[in-house]
Amino acid sequence: MTTTPMPSNDNQVMIELKNVNKWYGAFHVLKDINLTVRKGERIVICGPSGSGKSTMIRCINRLEEHQKGDIIVDKVPLTNDLKNIESVRREVGMVFQHFNLFPHLTVLQNCTLAPIWVRKTSQKDAEANAMRFLERVKIPQQALKYPGQLSGGQQQRVAIARSLCMNPQVMLFDEPTSALDPEMIKEVLDVMIELAEEGMTMLCVTHEMGFAKTVADRVIFMDGGEIIEENNPHEFFDNPQSERTQEFLSQILNH
């Protein structure tokens, strides 16, 4: 199905969702979701509001619990076993719409906290590592400021650096640019594109179709808790199969 060349290494499966179902009370949010993500794949997820995009990617690091089906991340099945959950969370980074930086800590402390307390890295190594990632997201000079002193775009780049400091195998993005002013979107997307080019496995909920066209190996369209369509970006945008996809695309591309 994919036409873009796979990144060099193996075809190892990173994430597998098998018949995943989830309910909020009586409301069926996720309906029989099946999805396989291989190492190094970049996947963009789109769909109308309320279609279950956030819920799906939040199930992958157990911020939400699914009720039926299996989710396996890097060979670890997500169950109620806290050990498994913690080991999955160590390997899966997440970037939120509203950044969720820790406001009482400096940028540098935001980036070193988890490596020090979860990975047991020494403070010195953690700080050196954090500075490397802050340089990669192009804000090393802000390291000693507090999140409240930064612009939205800068905060989101710190949030990306904070996740990367844990050396995750997979990065999840939940609408990382939709809380940003237009002039700041590009600086965040640039960082994400760079990350994608380095071969990071990424799942990204976004409506930035330019981003999808540039980096995605696959685009997934969700509606009503189901995956309606799944294709490479070229086919997805030029030749959408289902009616709902066509309708959705015409709405977001024409506005």
């Binding site: 690091n61 157990r62 911020l63 806290l82 913690e86 969370r89 160590r90 899966v92 980074g93 997440m94 939120f96 509203h98 950044f99 969720n100 930086l101 820790f102 406001p103 009482h104 906290l113 988890a114 307390w117 979860v118 507090y146 999140p147 409240g148 002193q149 930064l150 612009s151 939205g152 905060q155 904070r162 996740s163 844990m166 809380a179």
Partner: protein, 365 residues
């Protein structure tokens, strides 16, 4: 979210509204009714102020050692000064008073170090104050070790006892309150319900009842011989009672932390204790500071209730001195002194909390 809004400083007022006269015209004499009220109010303030100053300072007697020294029409502060040591130290042996003073001195230095903003290594000082200092204070006050003579707790009294009760109550109730608040938010029904029952029980009982139960009923349930000290029992009662209130303050602070903070911590792989200890509580405690200080002030004043179970705190010891036939008739001076001492401490705490609030509003959130 994102940007911090920093308001510009206000513009100066237009020049025609500056000055005391303009201000008074606008605020005090704007209408005939306001003018009349202002004049009546001023008259009351001036006459009462004049009377008070005359009584407390100008016509007061300060020196002497018996009531014969009080000859003028004002306050007889001789009563307070003659009994001052007793009011501060209770029945603590005269020769050992230096131990109490030393304890207070250490405590004051630690508090100052914590309050002053630029002190380095604050977390260590805080840990020292909370963990090591209580042990030092215990051995200093109680003795019976390191060659210090034992001073039974029934000899403790006065301001010293009030402060010991308040500080123990404050220091011990906060961590218990935090645990209760966390328990109340727990997903585990047993823990959650236990905490709810505890909090609601203690909040529904007056402190006076708790103290009665601690001093009268508790010994009935205990084996003979296992009798604990009356002061310890009162302390336990106060701490258990206060922890319930503290728990509610802490819960309020926890509720103000956005869900995204928990999610970000979870997503980074932090477990529950680390999430709470490193992310949530440090932020929540900042938000809760005013509420916590409020609770402290209430607790500080409530300690005077221990007089009903026969402990001689500041209020009780002054009251007992008033019953001394040699000093009959000086109750006003006695109570004014007690009120003034309580006021100093409560006002200090209140000012400090206002200062903190200001700092938090301008600081990084």
């Amino acid at each position: 979210m994102g940007k911090v809004h920093v308001p510009k400083p206000s513009l100066p007022p237009p020049s025609n509204s500056i000055g005391a006269i303009a201000w008074a015209k606008k605020h005090l004499f704007s209408t005939p009714l306001n003018s009349v009220l202002t004049i009546i109010g001023m008259y009351l303030v001036v006459t009462m102020g004049y009377w008070t100053i005359n009584w407390a300072f100008i016509n007061a007697d300060w020196v002497g050692d018996s009531r014969e020294a009080c000859t003028s029409s004002g306050a007889c502060w001789v009563f307070v000064s003659a009994r001052f040591n007793q009011f501060i130290y209770g029945f603590y042996p005269e020769s050992e008073i230096w131990r109490v003073n030393l304890m207070f001195a250490i405590f004051t230095v630690l508090l100052l170090a914590l309050v002053i903003e630029k002190t380095p290594k604050k977390p260590w000082i805080a840990a020292f104050t909370l963990v090591v200092f209580p042990i030092i204070a215990f051995f200093l006050l109680y003795g019976d070790a390191f060659g210090l003579e034992r001073v039974e707790t029934h000899k403790w009294g006065g301001l010293m006892l009030t402060l010991v009760l308040a500080v123990v109550g404050i220091v011990a109730s906060l961590p218990i309150g935090v645990l209760l608040a966390l328990g109340r938010r727990s997903n585990m029904p047993i823990i959650k319900n236990l905490c709810v029952v505890y909090i609601e029980f203690w909040r529904g009982v007056p402190l006076i009842t708790v103290l009665f139960m601690a001093s009268v009923m508790l010994p009935l349930f205990m084996h003979a011989g296992a009798e604990t000290d009356k002061l310890i029992r009162a302390m336990i009662g106060i701490v258990l009672f206060q922890a319930a209130y503290m728990a509610e303050v802490v819960r309020g602070g926890l509720q103000a932390i956005p869900k995204g903070q928990f999610e970000a911590a979870d997503a980074l792989g932090l477990n529950y204790p680390k999430t709470m200890g490193l992310i949530i509580l440090p932020q929540a405690l900042k938000l809760m500071t005013p509420g916590i200080v409020n609770t402290f002030i209430a607790l500080f004043k409530d300690t005077s209730l221990v007089l009903i179970i026969g402990l001689f705190d500041l209020l009780a010891i002054v009251q007992s001195a008033l019953a001394d036939p040699k000093w009959l008739g000086y109750s006003v001076e006695g109570y004014v002194f007690v009120a003034f001492m309580f006021w100093i401490f409560c006002f200090g705490m209140s000012k400090y909390s206002q200062h903190l609030e200001k700092k938090l509003n301008t600081g990084h959130r």
